[in-house]
Amino acid sequence: MGLRKVAVVGAGMTQFVRRAQETPKELAFKATRAALDSCELSIQDIDAICLGTAPDTFDGIHMNGEYLSDGVGALGKPYIRSYVGGGTGVFVPIQGWYHVASGLFDLVLVVAEEKMSSYYPHPQGAFLTIFDHTTERPLKPNLLWIFALEMNRYMATYGISKEDIAQVSVLHKRNAADHPAALLGDKKITVQDVLNSEVLAWPVQRLDVSPVSDGAVAIVLAAEHVARRITDKPIWIEGVGWSLDTAYWTNRDLAYPRYVEVAAKMAYEMAGIKEPRKEIHIAEPYDPFDYKALHHLEGLQLADRGKAIELYLNGSAKRDGNLPICPSGGLLGVGNPIAAAGLMKIAELFWQLRGEADGRQIPGSPQKGIAQAWGDLMQVGTVVIMGK
């Protein structure tokens, strides 16, 4: 296709917390500075900047990308902000990728920031306007409805139990206990804890859900000739894909995320991957809810429909298993500052593939990883494949 090879050469992130004192700009600055420091670059080296941040409603600032620009070092540079809901964190590195792959820029900074806590009394309110204003909003829906409806449909279609799905939450939250930036890591959590947690919107219970969070993540992308001057361990972006399903969500098959399948197939084809179950060594599927990790693993073709739970039940999903899933701790454990949470998964693959994931390191020199996010009205799939 005449595209240039693109590498990730640096990454940094803030802690994820329930409520940060720092403003969105200050959060973005800290993550950006950490990413630049990690590869010993200065902002003057950067050619262009891509920012991902979710609805303007969270911050109550119209054109939030412009407001945040100073915090991400965009002064006087080509700069763009993208937003595809929860899928943003894995879309913004795709946008950064085509900035570099196209030949237009050699060094691009990709930043994702989210501060959810300013919205009062609870950021869930910021999501109410995703429902159709005439046919749905008069019913006074809340965001939990759509997840609960999808989870119930998924469970009923394949006969999957709440007990089994709780294993996802347990593994991810335990993994997060090894992540220095995590909000909800818990080494001792059990399936019983998840099943005993408060019912919010059955079948969704408190510990099935990722926490509201504030935080930011940044990575640095480089063209091949530049990457090799910056680091001897570049991690390549080998495939990208994204796709959108219909917004008429009540007419869709809620048990299977076809939009993730389309995005994954695009990324696998670009990466030359024929047998993802053998060739992918780490998966970071998007896990704002525990069942979503399973749903997405199936869309990513890493499990047959209704069978992703077996990866958890047979131990494959653990860090020392055949297909480690969310070794970071995922959104369920590290936290879910929407856009930043997706980019955290890209940063995790970067650290894992370089062998720099410290206490979270997967053994055996993994070669390829996949990260995926999902969002808008349960309809967007964004996928990135990375390799050594």
Binding site: A34, H122, G125, D132, L139, W202, N251, R252, D358
Partner: protein, 168 residues
């Protein structure tokens, strides 16, 4: 690269800081008001609801019948002109028992949102509505339900002209 410049610590605030005034903050509200035109297809839908009917539309190319109706088929990208009344009965595709309100206040009696496949529409073509007149623990996927309408004189051409769906 080392671990210390990879994860940047930030200041975590407890919720109580906003109650006891131990930090400085500003508070604001927006008054945003809208009058939304319902559009052509949803206009048909709302007019149907006022008459006690659920209206769908059929694609001339793939022949599927959609609800809520639209003026185009997003599968075929064809214009759609054929509107037709469906039945006011259907099957629960999925449901939830919801114990929290939009602002995460707790509620004792759960709301029961559901996606209901409407009889006369294509397979798995449902609408979002609520279930009523049933013990929450008795609701199940596959259950047959029927719309409970407001009295004709109280209908305004709104999705709430159906109060809820109840067991058939």
């Amino acid at each position: 690269m080392n671990a210390k410049n990879r994860y940047y610590p930030i200041n975590s605030l407890p919720e109580s800081a906003f109650q006891d005034g131990s930090i400085l903050f500003s508070f604001d509200t927006f008054n945003t008001r809208y009058a939304w035109d319902c559009g052509v297809a949803i206009g048909e839908y709302l007019a149907g609801l006022r008459e006690g009917k659920i209206i769908g539309s059929t694609c001339p190319k793939c022949h599927r019948t959609m609800v809520p109706p639209r003026l185009f088929c997003e599968w075929c990208y064809q214009p759609v002109h054929h509107f037709l009344p469906l039945l006011d009965t259907g099957t629960i595709l999925t449901f939830s028992l919801c114990y929290v309100s939009w602002d995460v206040q707790r509620i004792t009696e759960p709301e029961i949102p559901a996606v209901i496949a409407i009889d006369g529409a294509s397979k798995n073509h449902g609408i979002l509505h609520k279930i009523g007149e049933i013990e929450p623990e008795k609701v199940h996927i596959g259950m047959r339900v029927r719309a409970l309408w407001k009295a004709p004189e109280d209908r305004t051409g709104d999705i709430t002209d159906i109060l809820y769906f109840k067991p058939e």
